[in-house]
């Protein structure tokens, strides 16, 4: 019990410390990068500003303070829940993100869950049927599909399913006036979802397939076979279980990659998500927006890794603390 509290405390500390370091790094680097933060605030009008007006605007946004002072000002606000306004949208950052994060979570979250499950399914199937016709077919299809750029696949899908067949909508998150219609939202989700899943699926499926093959060739499988354990049982109870730590670790790292990295998909499908915001905030020096999005991504990465670590320790005893063994060894 004491050790569990200790572990929790340790993880919280790691979490807070990582976020603090991340925030300093992003804050500093963003301000060092070339570009004009006023451009995102004033748009094209920035070129017509008089030097005095420009100076006043920069003063108002607090851009003249030393970076360290700016950071602590930001930090003081952030700790009270005030993350500042977005230069581009001129509204509180949290509000802008809040309006879009639901869409991103729907697209990325479902996309991630599907990728996770399908990759596992395909990988295990292919490993179990190594070198059969189906295995070869799936691997070939996967290689080809995995090589197609997302933007091209998106365009082709829009062309086929929206323009030619008229079956599925090809842009936006919902039809005009149907914001509360779940069915309509789901229909809008299908094409972007297909692109997200098809784009990521194969890499992870291959990984599972190769890890599984490694396990299948292990000695313990031979021993299990030699005493008559059915292949299916060996495959699922032992091989798959032993693949999971690797898979979970990789998936934990790729959570933000799949959920948040949908900039291209969002752009082609005009889907209002956070991916576009991340890209623009970095591109146009929207400092406050950039900070929140980066910290959000960072928090997700760290959290997912902690979850993966905890689950892995449950599966694989070798990573666990030695204390359990001591008790087992007492005669």
């Amino acid at each position: 019990m004491r050790s569990r509290v200790f572990t929790l405390g340790k993880n919280l500390l790691i979490f807070a410390l990582s976020l603090a370091i991340l925030s300093v790094a992003v804050f500093y680097v963003a301000r060092l990068a070339p570009g004009d933060p006023l451009a995102s605030y004033y748009g094209s009008r920035v070129e017509k500003l008089t030097p005095e007006a420009r100076f006043a605007a920069e003063e108002r946004l607090g851009l003249h303070d030393p970076i360290i002072v700016q950071y602590f000002k930001w930090l003081r606000g952030a700790l009270r829940g005030d993350f500042g306004i977005s230069f581009q949208y001129k509204r509180p950052v949290v509000e802008v993100i809040g309006g879009r994060i639901g869409n991103t979570l729907a697209l990325g979250g479902i996309g991630f869950a599907l990728t996770f499950a399908l990759a596992l399914l395909l990988g295990v199937f292919c490993a179990g049927h190594e070198d059969t016709f189906l295995d070869k077919l799936i691997c070939k299809v996967g290689t080809v599909t995995g090589c197609i750029p997302e933007f091209w696949l998106s365009l082709v899908l829009i062309l086929i399913f929206d323009i030619y067949l008229g079956l599925l909508p090809g842009s936006g998150a919902y039809s005009v006036g149907k914001a509360d219609d779940l069915g309509d939202r789901a229909a809008h989700l299908l094409l972007p979802l297909a692109v997200v899943v098809l784009g990521h699926l194969w890499y992870y499926a291959y990984m599972i397939r190769n890890r599984m093959l490694e396990e299948i060739r292990a000695d313990y499988v031979l021993l299990a076979k030699s005493v008559g354990l059915p292949d299916r049982k060996i495959l699922f109870r032992h091989c798959l279980r032993n693949c999971m730590p690797t898979y979970l670790s990789i998936m934990a790292i790729s959570v933000p990659h799949i959920i948040g990295g949908t900039y291209i998909v969002e752009t082609v499908f005009s889907y209002p998500g956070v991916g576009t915001l991340s890209y623009e905030s970095a591109r146009y020096q929207d400092y406050n927006m950039l900070m929140v999005l980066t910290l959000l991504t960072g928090a997700v990465v760290i959290l997912c890794n902690l979850v993966a670590q905890t689950v892995n320790a449950r599966i694989d005893p070798r990573g666990r603390a030695a204390e359990t063994e001591v008790t087992a060894d007492v005669r």
Partner: protein, 337 residues
């Protein structure tokens, strides 16, 4: 004693991208219930392939080309994997060379033994399984079995792990146990313990054992009969006494001579000259001929048949033909120094 395993003219090949590897060639032998047969030979001479083909655990690239395998009188040569699964564990099982990799690293050893028990008694209740597991663990000499069951493979030593592997292999009370170099990965004191254990269990349960090894020390300690393999063939087979005191095949003699025991102090150890042939398209005749100082002309042309020396002792060497010149084959006999 009854014959429980009979292998006749068995040939097994692996089909690789480089060609057909003739791993086992025309092997004939039989196994009596309750005896320990040691299969001895250099690496790559087909010892493991022979065992795996009898258990039908060969990879997909391998095929039994000819010959037959009969277990308790039933011909299992054409059995499918599904048929075999009913035999494995109950009729025969095996223990592997490296106990560190032979167990699933993420499952407590007790549960792994229980799994093997449940294969043969799927409806056994929990308490009975637990008792059977403890019984097996005690049988293989694991002290404090109760606590050991909870432990994971990484916290046990090599010797303990090999005992666990043995417990798993014995769960189905097999009649034949294949032990594929069971002591090679262990250190010397543990080797002796495991060999004694194998011997003890074989005597107590009457399990026939096929002991694959390249260590004559192991053979001397554990085997009733010995089969010497070279290039996929059995070149000499007989009782342990036959092989140790009256070896007839020049290869057997070479192997015995190379034991450090027979070396004179200060002299280099004897080695059999040359290298074993590659088993892709092996040479005709006796594959050992190029390494044999007594090789005859016919050795290069025709494979020698098995010559019977006594009721139990057979060897495949042309030197045993009545027409062949007499040569004095001695392993070294008297220890000098």
């Amino acid at each position: 004693m009854s014959e429980i395993l009979q292998v006749k003219n068995l040939s097994v090949s692996f089909f690789t991208p480089h060609g057909e590897v003739e791993a086992v060639r025309d092997v004939t032998f039989s196994l009596q219930s309750g005896e320990v047969l040691a299969v001895v030979g250099e690496s790559g001479c087909g010892k493991t392939a022979l065992c795996k083909s009898i258990m039908k655990l060969l990879p997909d690239t391998a095929r039994i080309k000819s010959g037959s395998i009969a277990v308790c009188g039933a011909d299992i040569t054409d059995y499918t994997d599904r048929d075999m699964r009913k035999l494995r564990g109950r009729l025969y099982s095996m223990i592997l060379q490296n106990p560190m990799t032979a167990l699933d690293p993420t499952v407590p050893v007790g549960r792994q033994v229980a799994e093997a028990v449940l294969v043969h008694h799927p409806r056994m209740d929990k308490e009975a399984v637990r008792r059977r597991v403890l019984e097996l663990m005690t049988l293989v000499g694991l002290d404090n079995a109760q606590a050991r069951c909870q432990q994971y493979p990484h916290s046990l030593s090599g010797g303990m792990l090999q005992r666990c592997v043995l417990a798993i292999a014995l769960a189905g009370e097999p009649q034949i146990l294949f032990a594929d170099e069971p002591t090679t990965a262990l250190d010397v004191t543990v080797q002796a313990q495991i060999l004694d254990l194998l011997r003890e269990i074989q005597q107590r349960l009457g399990t026939a054992t096929v002991l694959v090894t390249h260590d004559f020390g192991v053979v001397a300690r554990a085997a009733d009969r010995v089969a010497v393999m070279y290039a996929g063939r059995i070149v000499e087979i007989g009782t342990a006494e036959d092989i140790f005191y009256d070896p007839r095949h020049p290869y057997t003699v070479g192997l015995l001579r190379s034991l450090p025991y027979f070396a004179a102090p200060g002299e280099p150890l004897y080695t059999v000259p040359g290298m074993p042939p590659t088993m892709i398209d092996p040479p005709p005749g006796d594959a050992f001929a190029p390494r044999n100082v007594y090789a005859l002309e016919i050795d290069y042309q025709e494979a020698p048949p098995m010559f019977q020396i006594s009721d139990t002792h057979f060897a495949a060497a042309w030197l045993l033909d009545p027409r062949a010149p007499r040569v004095d084959l001695r392993a070294g006999g008297v220890r000098r120094g």
